[in-house]
């Protein structure tokens, strides 16, 4: 069924806004700097609202004043509003009732993740996971949640530009078609196409058609930070396109060699779920039980602390080169044929090797070894070999046909393109999405190459032409002759393969806001297909390729479910053991530090740099916002005599960058980590631009030979110091310390009610401890709960700290972005935060344990906040909700002072953007957009509770358990959050609250009787083997 997306258009900005008119003078342009300098002048004056305090002030001043007036006007008459009904009501839309459409998001590094998109009167407002989709299982990651903000981003490119001047699609077609004709004449030798990693069958098919039309044309691929080592390793091992997926539900022992399979890894959501499912336990009278087979064990060797490392029983910090040797030694110890010889390792690593060999050999076929991006392609091949050797292939490690349209070594592919551009053999360059001018490895100097290409004037033949399709007028667009605004995936049709090959269908929720075109449209034009919409192209493709009797019904079903039936790419059962050539010589450790480059845990490789939600999202472990940093271990910091925020020069691979230092407990000594994606030269008000950069750009340090593990680097401290907006210091729980003291970046905090956060598995076999009775002077219950009693249970053992819940909450509840300055003042507005604590000795990273604790309003039954509000703006509902009524709040902030969990947030300024048109479309209509001067906090998603309650009252049916999912619960990949009715005995939440591991935070001390309780995390010491 092709429902017609509702036409909601935002008027395109005036040409002057998006049209850089500096092109003619460009030949005289000197270096890149003046280049962007001039470009900056063309920027909208208030483009950097959020990052630049001054202009934000002005903006807030206006907002503030208007709100003040609104307040004063509140005692006068209601402003008159209008009723504007449809002329022809669109089918299936009932005003006031949201609709959900299944679609597929290109997160997961270009691979598809099935989603359900909530639509209010044709406005997509919220993205949920699609439970039917194998890559989602109902969950999404933070980046997918934040995609909704990308869609409505006012900084998105809003017009076609040709050499900087505003143009149109027809203008583009008109001027490019003749050139294409000429190219077609000699087989299109001069045509180069650059795409990102391509997993869309239809686009792949179109590309083939283009290549049929232009046989001599060349197709290149580049996605920065898309597991290049892994891909190279696979190609090297099997020299044919192979992909490998993992079955964590079958694995008893998991060894990760710096591979963070819980985030930024193809299939991470599914893996996280399966991994945690094997750790679900119950603690009752008869002791501790594993619910889904024996509890698995995780061993992580890592350079940079990762989410996987935080979940591990044992983790061992290693530098990339140490990791390399470790891998070789492990292979040898396991008796892998022709494993390379290595020198003896230091005792600690040796001990770990012994432990691992023992564990792995014990559980052949029921274990897996994973390799991360800091390992070179040879080591990757070796790791595949290890899995072969351990007989894991086909059991826990599943080789499949590659999900990519064409699996190539992208580094070589991009280098080839650069070569072509430099020689005069390329006449037309088509860049579909991606931003190579920014994120290509430094030694390719792609931006300069592209510039000289577009400016070169060959003696014969037409002038070279570069065409860029992208969401933003970014670094690359600026260097291309043609910029074509891309349609967001929420605005266009398409299809995407998931990590396991399942084909998900992307359908538009709204007509392109800015007349953008999808890659399919553009490729179709190049393939010479005319008069066919992207929908028709997609449909026709699958009509051809979908082997099924009744296509129509199959297609409808697929659209409804969001993916095509049994389209997973087939397993390869008879995969021969990987072939191993000789290992590359180890990189000479010339520098003083080994450098590691990683995609940023929030904004990824930089494509979501202008997303305020992600910028302000505290990074899972460092809790930094709005910046990247040079991350190193406290020990190294001491050695180099640098401290948090001190700016250092980092020199590697011939280029130098500057950035602030941040101490990172648990980081391996002898290496530094820098997150990519920052320091954008042309992004937007959140991502920054050349004039005021947000973070610093680390891509120049990357080289084609050393991408992620970028070899030796030299650090030289500078005098400068820079404030980094961190939402939580590195806090080390320590019973010994009464006072808090900060030593080299780590703040030791007293061990109070945080102590119950985790238990060692010594309590295996112990009996259930008697639950302490809530103390009270009054005869309990103080409240007569009427009907439902909502409550929540959070499993800290299942929380991997991935931040998805924080984004989901922000999206569901219209939480504003406040900007770096305000975060520095401690005024971030997230309703849910994930607290991260350490235990153990910071001097010994191997012993350091990381614990996450998601924290939102506890909805205390005896809530301290309610007692002190002078105007009853926060009060208790009969269902036990602690309610916050924004429009009654006068803003004394007393409630926040009196909240022991400090989960209340205050609008110190007018934080919500009430002016930007597109944001108005984005807001969830069922949640009030808060004004200046009012308190706010988690409501247990009361709008969802009300929706369910009203539905049940209208239909006279009771609300079944699980019918109400809070936003955080719905998005959680590991289902760590469970919400339900405490008056419904069989409800899951009651089972969890009765568990021996359940505890109520600070309750013993303050008798707040929180409705949200926690399940302690159990650490599985290696000695015990858990019983099934």
């Amino acid at each position: 069924m092709s429902h017609q997306p509702i036409q909601l258009r935002i008027l395109p900005a005036t040409p002057s806004r998006t049209a850089p008119k500096v092109w003619r003078s460009l030949d005289e342009q000197g270096g890149r700097d003046q280049f962007y300098e001039s470009l900056y002048r063309e920027f909208p004056p208030n483009a950097s609202e959020l990052t630049d305090s001054q202009s934000r002030r002005d903006f807030l001043k206006l907002a503030g004043a208007s709100v003040a007036l609104a307040g004063l006007a509140s005692c006068t008459r209601q402003p008159e509003t209008r009723l504007v009904p449809y002329v022809h009501p669109p089918e299936e839309i009932i005003p006031g009732k949201p609709l959900f459409y299944a679609s597929c998001a290109p997160s997961d590094g270009g691979r598809g993740v099935g989603v359900l998109v909530e639509s209010h009167e044709g406005r997509p407002t919220k993205i949920e996971g699609n439970p039917l989709h194998p890559a989602s299982l109902g969950a999404t990651d933070a980046q997918t949640q934040a995609a909704i903000l990308d869609l409505y981003d006012p900084d998105r490119s809003q017009s076609y530009t040709r050499n900087g001047a505003v143009s149109t699609w027809d203008g583009f077609v008109g001027s490019v078609s003749p050139v294409l004709e000429q190219l077609a004449a000699d087989g299109g030798a001069g045509l180069c196409i650059l795409t990102t990693t391509l997993t869309c069958p239809t686009q792949g098919d179109l590309l083939q058609k283009v290549l049929q039309r232009f046989p001599k044309a060349s197709w290149h691929q580049w996605s920065a930070a898309d597991h290049h080592q892994r891909r190279a390793g696979l190609l090297r091992a099997y020299d044919k396109p192979v992909d490998i997926t993992y079955d964590f539900s079958k694995a008893d022992v998991i060894v990760s060699l710096d591979c963070d399979f819980l985030s930024q890894f193809p299939g991470a959501l599914t893996y996280a779920r399966n991994f945690i499912d094997r750790r679900r336990i119950r603690f009752d009278q008869s002791g501790l039980h594993a619910l889904n087979g024996p509890v698995n064990r995780l061993y992580v060797m890592e350079t940079t602390p990762s989410l996987a490392g935080a979940m591990a029983e044992h983790h061992l910090p290693l530098t990339p080169s140490q990791l390399r040797d470790f891998t070789f030694t492990l292979a040898g110890a396991l008796g892998v044929p022709n494993a390379p010889p290595t020198a003896a390792l230091p005792p600690r690593q040796q001990a770990m090797i012994q432990l691992l060999t023992q564990r792995l050999t014990q559980s052949r076929g029921k274990c897996m070894v994973l390799a991360g991006e800091t390992l070179d392609e040879y080591s990757h091949a070796l790791v595949h070999q290890i899995n072969h050797h351990l007989g894991n292939m086909g059991h826990t490690v599943l080789p499949r046909q590659s999900v990519e349209v064409q699996q190539v070594n992208q580094v070589q592919s991009l280098s080839a393109l650069v070569a072509k551009l430099q020689s005069e053999r390329c006449q037309m360059l088509l860049i579909l999405e991606g931003n190579p001018a920014y994120d290509a490895p430094g030694d390719l100097h792609f931006a300069d190459v592209l510039k000289t290409f577009t400016l070169s004037r060959p003696r014969q033949g037409p002038p070279p032409l570069a065409i860029h399709l992208s969401l933003y007028q970014d670094e690359t667009s600026f260097l291309c002759n043609w910029h074509i605004p891309a349609a967001h995936w929420l605005e266009s049709w398409g299809d995407l393969r998931a990590f396991d090959g399942t084909v998900g269908l992307t359908q538009p929720l709204i007509a392109p806001l800015y007349d953008g075109k999808s890659a399919i449209d553009l490729l179709a034009f190049f393939a010479g297909i005319v008069g066919k919409s992207d929908y028709e192209i997609l449909r026709d493709y699958w009509k051809e390729h979908l082997q099924t009797g009744d296509f129509e019904s199959a297609w409808r079903l697929a659209l409804q479910q969001g993916h095509l039936p049994n389209s997973t790419s087939p397993l390869i059962n008879d995969l021969p053991p990987a072939s191993l050539a000789a290992p590359a010589p180890p990189p000479a450790p010339a520098g003083q530090m080994e450098l590691i480059l990683r995609p940023d845990p929030c904004i990824g490789d930089g494509r979501q740099a202008n997303n305020g939600w992600l910028q302000e999202l505290p990074k899972p472990l460092t809790k930094l916002t709005w910046d990247n940093a040079v991350l190193l271990s406290p020990a190294d910091a001491k050695r180099l005599n640098v401290e948090n925020g001190q700016v250092v020069k980092v020199a590697a691979n011939g280029s130098t960058i500057q950035g602030p230092v941040w101490l990172f407990p648990g980081h391996a000594d002898g290496c530094i980590t820098i997150h990519l994606g920052y320091g954008r030269a042309k992004s937007g008000r959140a991502g920054g631009d050349f004039k005021n950069q947000v973070g610093f750009n680390a891509y120049p340090l990357a080289t084609t030979s050393a991408l992620t593990s970028a070899g030796p680097a030299t650090l030289t401290p500078t005098g400068q110091h820079m404030e980094l907006a961190c939402t939580q210091l590195h806090q080390l729980i320590d019973p010994k310390h009464l006072a808090s003291q900060t030593t080299n970046g780590v703040q030791t905090i007293p061990d109070r009610d945080l102590a119950p956060l985790e238990e060692w598995s010594e309590l295996v076999g112990k009996a259930l401890p008697a639950h302490s009775k809530p103390l009270s002077l009054f005869p309990a219950p103080e409240h007569q709960w009427d009907g439902h009693a909502w409550g929540m249970s959070i499993d800290t053992g299942a929380c991997i700290g991935c931040n998805a819940c924080v984004m989901a909450c922000q999206s569901e509840n219209n939480s504003p972005v406040v900007g770096k300055e305000q975060v520095l003042m401690g005024r971030q507005m997230h309703w849910i935060r994930i607290d991260r604590y350490y235990r153990g000795d910071p001097a010994d990273p191997q012993q350091l344990r990381t614990i996450f604790q998601p924290l939102m309003c506890m909805h205390c039954e005896t809530a301290p906040c309610e007692l002190v509000c002078p105007v009853a703006a926060t009060s208790h509902s009969k269902e036990g909700l602690n309610e916050m009524t924004y429009n009654r709040c006068v803003g004394t902030r007393y409630c926040s002072n009196n909240c022991p969990y400090k989960v209340r947030r205050f609008n110190f300024f007018q934080y919500s953007d009430l002016n930007t048109a597109s944001y108005k479309l984005m807001h969830n209509p069922n949640v009030t957009v808060r004004a200046r001067g009012v308190m706010e906090k988690c409501t247990y998603c009361v709008q969802r509770i009300n929706e369910a309650r009203i539905a049940s009252k209208v239909s006279d049916q009771p609300i079944p358990d699980g019918a109400i999912l809070t936003a955080c619960q719905q998005v959680c990949p590991t289902q760590a959050i469970v919400f339900g009715d405490l008056h419904d005995p069989p409800a899951k939440v009651n089972r969890l609250k009765a568990d021996g591991l359940s505890y109520a935070m600070l309750d013993e001390q303050l008798n707040t009787r929180p409705r949200t309780t926690y399940l302690k995390r159990v650490r599985w010491a290696d000695a015990q083997s858990s019983e099934g």
């Binding site: 939580q728 806090q731 002078p870 006068v890 007393y894 009196n898 022991p900 969990y901």
Partner: protein, 458 residues
């Protein structure tokens, strides 16, 4: 008996040789004849400048929101509430002097009660601003009052802030009445003595037709006494209620039963300090050494010392209970006060409020006017610091460490504080210019009482 006490005391409450006329002339002339020269204008100009600063700060505040201050989560209350409590405290001395000491028949109060009351009034005015200013949406302040609205909503009576509203407004009203009633006979005197017809009319209206008849005096004394009776409980109640703002919360460092008494003591402590800080310059400026004698300063110093000791006891008990209670958070708070990031605030508080006042044990120091003046100012600073310590240190590190955060006052915080001080002084300058700063009729009574041979009552 009080007569005997006063006459035999080394330094009397009224310098000998004063007659009814001399007293009235001396004081009345300040309003009527004396030229208010360069000093007054200069002083007032400075004060007025800070009033303008206050206006600026408030204007910008209403335009932008409370975010212009340094407050955040967890420290959601900053300077605004610190100043509020401080000013309210200062007000107390005035009421104490005029009401309680009146009931106790302390004759030495007569020469200072007038401007002490004025001080109360202005201090309460300053204090009264802050609860409004610190609100996120000040234009909704009236929701704190009970009135039949379109929402069928009432204030939330369990909240100490609501008690505050009533306590402070009551206090303001009673103090104002008390002050005005006390002024009536003096207005009459001024009315009769001035030559300026306009002033005659003005004072005539203000004196409500006072004709010095015996019945007037009789009624007057009754009314005055009753008001004193009314005001007396307020001295204790108002600051107790303010203390509840903290004691009723469960924040460690606030949730303490000793707060009400210890706040009242602190209030009187700071109040007397402020009276001294004002009395010393005034008596010098207007040559009132005969009326505000060494005895007054000495007695006030003694009161300060006594109150200082009570406050010190409060601090000691707080620290003791923290460890005696065995509550880890209480213990952490105490240690954090002493060696946490705000240790300087805490130790300078101890210095100002506990150590320095001990100097007052020595008569020499009590009699040395400059030293007394300096000590009084130090105590004022100390009491402000006390409120800072209670509010900021308790909040910045509470139960859940992940949300610990520092509080740094911004320019606007300081501007508001300075502004209110300017406002306070400006009011006093005007008061000194247009009202008798010492109660003339009570001084005349004093003349009567201290005179060697009793005379007939005027």
């Amino acid at each position: 008996m009080s007569q005997a006490a006063t006459t035999t005391s080394p330094d009397p409450t009224l310098a000998p040789g004063h007659s009814y006329e001399s007293v009235t002339d001396r004081i009345g002339s300040i309003v009527l004849q004396q030229k208010h020269g360069r000093n007054w204008v200069f002083g007032f100009a400075i004060a007025f400048f800070f009033v303008m600063v206050l206006n600026g700060a408030i204007g910008y505040l209403f335009l932008r929101g409370v975010g212009i201050w340094g407050i955040n989560v967890p420290v959601a209350w900053g300077f605004a509430i610190v100043n509020f409590v401080w000013w309210i405290g200062i007000g107390h001395a005035g009421t104490l002097i005029s009401a309680i000491l009146l009931l106790l028949r302390q004759d030495w109060r007569t020469s200072i009660n007038r401007f002490a009351e004025a001080m109360t009034l202005f201090a309460v005015a300053c204090a009264g601003m802050f609860p409004l200013l610190h609100m996120g949406r000040p234009w909704m302040f009236y929701w704190m009052m009970p009135y039949p609205d379109t929402m069928r909503m009432w204030p939330q009576w369990r909240s100490p802030l609501v008690w505050d509203v009533f306590a402070v407004t009551t206090y303001a009203i009673v103090s104002a009445m008390f002050w005005f009633v006390g002024l009536i006979p003096d207005f009459a005197t001024l009315r009769d003595r001035t030559q300026n017809p306009w002033l005659q009319k003005l004072f005539g209206v203000l004196s409500l037709g006072w004709r010095n008849s015996a019945r007037h005096w009789q009624r007057f004394h009754w009314a005055y006494l009753l008001l004193a009776g009314l005001a007396t409980p307020l001295v204790v109640s108002v600051h107790s209620v303010v203390a509840m703002d903290f004691a009723a919360a469960q924040v460690t460092g606030w949730h303490t039963t000793i707060f009400p008494p210890y706040f009242v003591a602190g209030a009187i402590f700071s109040g007397f300090a402020m009276v001294l800080t004002l009395a010393i310059p005034i008596r010098a400026a207007y040559g009132l050494k005969d009326f505000i004698t060494m005895r007054h300063l000495d007695v006030m110093a003694k009161v300060m010392l006594a109150m200082g000791l009570i406050v010190a006891y409060g601090y000691a008990i707080e620290a003791f209970m923290a460890f005696y209670s065995g509550s880890p958070t209480e213990r952490f708070l105490t240690v954090n006060r002493a060696i946490g990031p705000y240790w300087m605030a805490y130790w300078s508080l101890i210095l100002c409020n506990v150590l320095v006042p001990q100097l007052l044990w020595f008569g020499k120091i009590r009699r040395s006017i400059p030293l007394l003046f300096i000590i009084a100012i130090i105590v004022n600073v100390g009491m402000w610091l006390e409120r800072f310590v209670i509010i900021v240190i308790s909040l910045h590190r509470d139960f859940v460490p992940s949300k610990w955060h520092m509080y740094y006052p911004t320019f606007w915080d300081w501007a508001t504080l300075a502004g209110t001080i300017g406002f306070f002084l400006a009011c006093l300058f005007l008061f000194a210019r247009f009202f008798p700063i010492i109660s003339m009729f009570e001084m005349r009574e004093l003349v009567h009482e201290t005179a060697q041979e009793p005379k007939a009552h005027p």
